[in-house]
C-alpha cells in the first residue's frame, strides 16, 4: 500500500474495522461532517452514515457515558475526546464506570470500547491542548492505555484496541500526526496490547520511551552512536497500561544504565513507575542512577515556549551522557 501519515493510518484502521465489524460505531465532537478537527475520521460519515458516525453534542461526559451504554448493548464504540485535556470532563465516567463495569458486574458486562484522545505538545496549539497526563489513566485499574509512535503501529494498535474486550485509552500524539509517513502493508496487522518493542538494539544503554518521544529518542540514540560510540537499546512501550516490564528489565540487566524519556511532567509521572520496577527487578545490575528526561512539573507553556518544555534529542543525549559518565 501507499505511504501514510498517522492520521491516514488511523483513518484506515477505522474504515477497515467498521467495514469488517458492523457493531463498531464512532462518536465525538465534529467527527462526522467535519471529519474530525484533525481529519482523522474524514470520509467515514459518508461511508457509514450518521447512525454509526455520530457527531455529538459538546459534552465529554455525555460522550463517554453514552458510549458505555452503547457498549453494553453490544456495540463497540470508538469515542473521540477532541483533546485529552478535555477528557477530564468525563473523568468520573472513565474512572467511575468505564474502568469498573466488568468488575462491578463480576464479568456479566464488559465494555469493548476505545477512547481516542489526541495528546501532547508540539503543534502550536492553545492552552489545554498540549499536556501529557497519561499517568492519570495509567493509575486507574480497569483501564488499558496504548500510545502509538508511528503510522504503522498506530493502525495496528488501534485494531487491537477496538477488538479488545475492555476499555482502551488510545492516545494519539498530535506531533506525529503528520510529521512523517510510513509504508503501510496491505494486510491488516495488530500489535498485542501489553507488549513493548525493542526498536533499536544496543548493549551500552537502555532508553525507555513511547509516543512522540520515541522518535526523538531514536534520534538521540543515533547521535550517541555517532558522537560517543555508544550503542543504545531503545524500547518503545507502545502499551503504557498494563505496563510490559519484561523487555526493559531484561535490557537494563544487560546494559546497567537506563534513561527514561517521556513528555509528561516528572513528579508522580510515568517514569517513576519504570524506575521502581527497575530497582525492584534489576537492582544489582544498575551501574548508575536511572535518568529521567521528561517534562517539567509545570503546565505546558503556550506555544512560543513549548519546545523549551519538550525533551528533544539534545536534552536526551545530555541525560544519557550523565548516565554513561557516572
Amino acid at each position: 500500500m501507499a505511504e501514510l501519515t498517522m492520521v491516514q493510518a488511523i483513518n484506515l484502521a477505522l474504515r477497515q474495522e467498521m467495514k469488517r465489524d458492523p457493531t463498531v460505531v464512532l462518536i465525538g465532537e465534529d467527527i462526522g461532517v467535519d471529519g474530525g478537527i484533525f481529519r482523522v475520521t474524514d470520509g467515514l460519515l459518508k461511508e457509514y452514515g450518521p447512525e454509526r458516525v455520530m457527531d455529538s453534542p459538546l459534552a465529554e461526559s455525555g460522550i463517554i457515558g453514552f458510549s458505555i451504554g452503547m457498549a453494553i448493548s453490544g456495540l463497540k464504540p470508538v469515542a473521540e475526546m477532541q483533546f485529552s485535556g478535555f477528557s477530564y470532563f468525563a473523568f468520573h465516567q472513565l474512572e467511575g464506570h468505564a474502568a469498573r463495569m466488568r468488575w462491578r458486574s463480576q464479568g456479566r458486562y464488559h465494555l469493548p470500547m476505545v477512547v481516542r484522545m489526541p495528546q501532547g505538545a508540539g503543534v502550536r496549539a492553545l492552552e489545554h491542548h498540549s499536556e501529557s497526563r497519561e499517568a492519570y489513566y495509567g493509575h486507574t485499574p480497569g483501564l488499558k492505555m496504548v500510545m502509538p509512535s508511528t503510522p504503522r503501529n498506530a493502525r495496528a494498535l488501534l485494531l487491537s484496541a477496538i477488538r479488545d474486550p475492555d476499555p482502551v485509552i488510545f492516545l494519539e500524539p498530535t506531533a506525529n500526526y503528520r510529521a512523517f509517513r510510513e509504508e503501510m502493508p496491505e494486510e491488516e496487522e495488530t500489535i498485542p496490547i501489553g507488549e513493548s518493542k525493542i526498536v533499536r538494539e544496543g548493549s551500552d544503554l537502555t532508553m525507555i520511551t513511547y509516543g512522540t518521544m520515541a522518535r526523538r529518542t531514536l534520534e538521540a540514540a543515533e547521535r550517541l552512536r555517532e558522537e560517543d560510540g555508544i550503542e543504545a537499546e531503545v524500547i518503545d512501550l507502545l502499551t503504557i497500561s498494563p505496563l510490559d516490564d519484561k523487555k526493559f528489565i531484561e535490557s537494563a540487566r544487560k546494559t546497567g544504565r537506563v534513561v527514561i524519556v517521556h513528555e509528561a511532567p516528572q513528579t508522580f509521572g510515568p517514569g517513576g513507575e519504570i524506575v521502581a520496577r527497575l530497582v525492584e527487578q534489576a537492582f544489582l545490575h544498575l551501574e548508575a542512577p536511572i535518568k529521567r528526561v521528561n517534562g517539567y512539573d509545570i503546565i505546558v507553556p503556550y506555544f512560543a515556549r513549548e519546545q523549551a518544555y519538550l525533551p528533544d534529542a539534545e536534552r536526551i543525549v545530555r541525560g544519557a551522557r550523565e548516565v554513561l559518565r557516572f
Binding site: V25, G62, G65, G69, S105, Q106, D166
Partner: protein
Amino acid sequence: MPKKAIKIPVKLDYLSILNEHGKLDRKLEPKLSKELLRTMHEKMLLARRFDERMFSLQRQGRLGTFAPVKGQEAAQIGAVAALSDSDWIVPAFREIAAYVWRDLPLEGLLLYNAGYNEGGRLPDDAHFLPIAIPVGSQMLHAAGLAYGLKLQKKNEITMTFFGDGATSEGDFHEAMNFAMVYACPVVFICQNNHYAISVPRAKQTTSRTLAQKAFAYDMPCMQVDGNDVLAVYVAAKEAVERARTRHIPTLIECVTYRLSVHTTVDDPSKYRPQEEVKQWEKRDPIPRFQRYLKSKQILSDADVKKTEERVEQTIAKAVEAWQGQMARLTDPSVMFEHLYAEMPPSLQAQREAFRKEWVERTDEAANG
C-alpha cells in the same frame, strides 16, 4: 419584529388516580388484569419486607451500609410494571423494589450489602444494570444503551431511576440532551423523595417542579403522585409506548417520600421533623394500594396474610442461601479478578504474592 412572545409548547400534567384518602378517579383508572395487580402488590410487599429485614441485619452488624427503599415502592413498581421483561432497567442505588420485580436473586443483594463483590453478579438474562452509586451518572448509560438497542433493531427500551438530588448533576443534563438528540427509547424516572441525604428538594433547585427540567430539551414530561402505583403505572406505560414506538424519551417525576434513613449510616433527625415523616406515613403507598385491591375484591384479608407469608418465606430462603454463599467465600484473592478479560502479568504476580502471604499468615495464625 418588536418584543414578542415565543411560543414554546411546554406541557406538564400532574397525574393522580388513587389519592391518599383512597379516592379513585374512575376515568383514569387503568384496566389491569387481576393477576398483574396482585403481582404488583406482592412485589411491593416483598420489597418492603426485604428492606426491613436488611435494615435489621444491618443493625445487627451483619450487613453494611445500604439505602432503604421504604416509601418508594409504588414509584418503582408502578414504573417497571409498565416494561416488558426484556426491557432494561438502569438503577441508581435504591431500586430494591425494581430489583425484586424482576425476580432477581435476593441473596445477591444480601451478598452485595454484606460487602462481597460477588453480589454484583446478576443472572445473564437479567437486563438490569449493576447498582450505580455516583449520583446521576447512570442516566447516560441508559440513553446509550437505548440507542444501541435501537440501532441493532431490538425492540427493547431502557428505563432509568434517579433521585431529586441527581437532577443537579451535569450528567443529568447531558443524558437528557443526548437522549433527545439521538432519539433514544428511554424513560427517565425521577424519584423525588424530597431529600438528597439532608438537602431538601426546595434547596436543591429553584424550579417549581423537577419534571419541568424536560422543557430545556422539549422532552415530554409528567409529574405523578409517586405513592399512587396506578398513576405511576399509567404515566410510565404512556412513556414506554412513546419510547418503543416513536423513540421519544420522557421524564417522569414521581413525587414520593423516603420514609426511612438515607442510608443506614444516616440520622434524619438532624434535618427533618418527625411530624413531616408522620404526614407521609399516611400516604404510604402499600396500605393505599391494598385498600384499593380490597375494594375491588381482588385481594382479601386472607390473601394479604398469605402474601405476607409467601414473602416471608422468600426472604427466609434468600437469607439462608446468602449464608451458605458467604460460608463458601473464604478466598480473598478473588479481589484480583474481573478487572480485565485477561489478567495482566503484573497483576498475576501481585495475586501470587498476596496468596503466598495469605497462606503463610493463615498458617502462622493456626500454629500460634
